[in-house]
Symmetry: C2
């Protein structure tokens, strides 16, 4: 028997009808394969939130002013944001990275200072990043994940904060998956129809301006510092055989870039939540992915990933702790 067969046998011998734990069984199988073990464990879960500003926010693509990115970073540091609440609930170590916020946080020791620049450039005027900035951001994401790996982490999730970053995610989806821009754009933080049409017009202009081909070039032209750091982080998590919990629209756009660079990253991904941002559905379909939860969230910060954590933990616990038919002396099906 190969490992897949051994794991499946272990699952099927648990005291439950065959397949009755549905998606939990799929998760148990997936993480067992990632860890190459019949007795997988979740160790030292970490959630990294990357914050960065977007030049394109100047075009009025968001309901919120750009200052909110920095304000929300302070909210994270003070423990008052949704992601703080959910990480505390599940004992997940939360770390906040300044990937490129348009604000100087001075030497605040609670932030991981990795600012690439004070926000990306306005894509209508110039590519969002230089290729050097994009590489630097990816490298930083890799280093941060490597640090956690060395401390024993084997499951990790990523979130983001950046006013305007649904625009980057929409553009990345458009470019990577060749989906019409209209279908890639949604309400973001709560735009009405007229505002969405305006956003579509802005993104169309942006999309028509540059036609890069390589995965990293597309990321450079249309991404953001927080997105590129997540892309690097995902690639490094794959290298270290970590389980990656994938959050919503923006986090998945970072994965899209990682997938284009190294398709095997998908083997390590658990898709946590299908965002209420409508294009996320298309993004997941493009990746052949099916999300665990559908709670109509559209908040970002990685909240979907952290809310899914206990379900993933349940999958590992049933695999390790449930009795088998033989152990429990329970009759099997006829």
């Amino acid at each position: 028997m190969n490992l897949i067969q051994k794991i499946q046998k272990k699952i099927d011998q648990k005291t439950k009808p065959l397949g009755a734990l549905g998606k939990l069984e799929e998760i148990a199988l997936k993480i067992s394969l990632i860890q190459n073990s019949l007795n997988p464990e979740l160790k030292r879960p970490v959630h990294l939130v990357f914050a960065g500003d977007h030049g394109l926010a100047d075009e009025g693509v968001s309901l919120y002013p750009k200052e909110v990115t920095a304000q929300m970073v302070f909210n994270f540091l003070n423990g008052g944001a949704a992601i703080n609440v959910f990480c505390r609930q599940h004992n997940i170590d939360l770390k906040v990275v300044d990937a490129g916020v348009d604000y100087d946080f001075e030497n605040n020791p609670e932030i991981i200072h990795r600012k690439i620049a004070h926000g990306t450039r306005n894509i209508l005027k110039a590519p969002a990043m230089t290729i050097e900035q994009c590489h630097q951001a990816m490298k930083t994401g890799k280093e941060l994940v490597q640090n956690e790996y060395l401390k024993g982490t084997n499951i990790i999730s990523f979130g983001e904060m950046g006013i305007g970053n649904t625009s980057s995610a929409s553009l990345l989806l458009h470019k990577y998956a060749n989906i019409p821009i209209e279908d890639c754009v949604g309400a973001g933080t709560g735009l009405d129809n007229e505002q969405i049409n305006k956003k579509i017009a802005v993104l169309k202009k942006a999309a028509e301006k540059y036609h890069p081909v390589l995965a990293e070039e597309i990321l450079t032209y249309f991404g953001g510092f927080e997105i590129a750091m997540m892309t690097g982080a995902i690639l490094e998590a794959k290298e270290n055989a970590m389980t990656i919990i994938v959050d919503g629209f923006i986090a998945t756009s970072a994965l899209l870039a990682a997938y284009k660079i190294k398709p095997e990253v998908l083997d390590n991904c658990i898709f946590s939540h299908q965002s209420n941002e409508k294009a996320h559905k298309l993004m997941l379909e493009y990746l052949g992915a099916d999300a665990l939860l559908n709670l109509n969230l559209r908040l970002g910060e990685g909240t979907g990933a952290v809310l899914a954590y206990p379900i993933i933990e349940s999958a590992i616990l049933f695999l390790n702790e449930m009795a088998s038919f033989d152990d429990a002396g329970v009759s099997k099906s006829k």
Copy 2:
């Protein structure tokens, strides 16, 4: 402002886009109303599993032999079943009730001994219960919930174990909702198409035999001891302003009976999981309900309810712990 408006205002002032926490916001509102409080809390969560046998199992409607009900009760007592694993994970107090298993558990102190009889009667031969048995079962369910209420519990969930009990649930759905029996029957623990057709034929015969009208009569003729205890338990939980986490197909059939007796019970219910048992979708639609999770579970024991617990807890935590825009100094949307 009335309480609904006050709660909604509290939710809307949290540092997130309006409505961005989706179903968590609905849960927070619902539990605040149940508890008549702007600062709801979840206290001493308890999960009661009711076990009972079904005479109809003699007709071969399940893949598993009847003995499995008692065997699984021992598995619960030994901590080896899925429900044990998930209750331990979330610190939920698990209690196992012998509602009417066809086995003598002697004086095992870990079981709550409330056996009505050694299994219900075979519905093809006689009504499942007598009206006295059904009343006794409902009364018992009420007493057990009352006990937990007096110890401080304000959130409760119910699960079941009983070989053959999807048949009862299908019959209850058919009778209460006037849905054709073919649409009320699914694969249960894993029947193939031929076996499902056989099950439909048996249930048709059973359904045509009796035509009770009153809610409690329908429960008496087609229910089970574990189902009737759950119905009583749900009604008592409503009386005590508890939040009720509703599990899958069989637990919802018990709720259906409770709903027919007292429609207001729905105000206290959170629907945790849409079962892979296909008729559960119809049952939820009939109740106008939308389940939180859809993990393709079809296990019973109340596993869906317990797996949803951390999501419900997240809803309460965000309401109580997240900062408001004013607290955090974050700018609101334009």
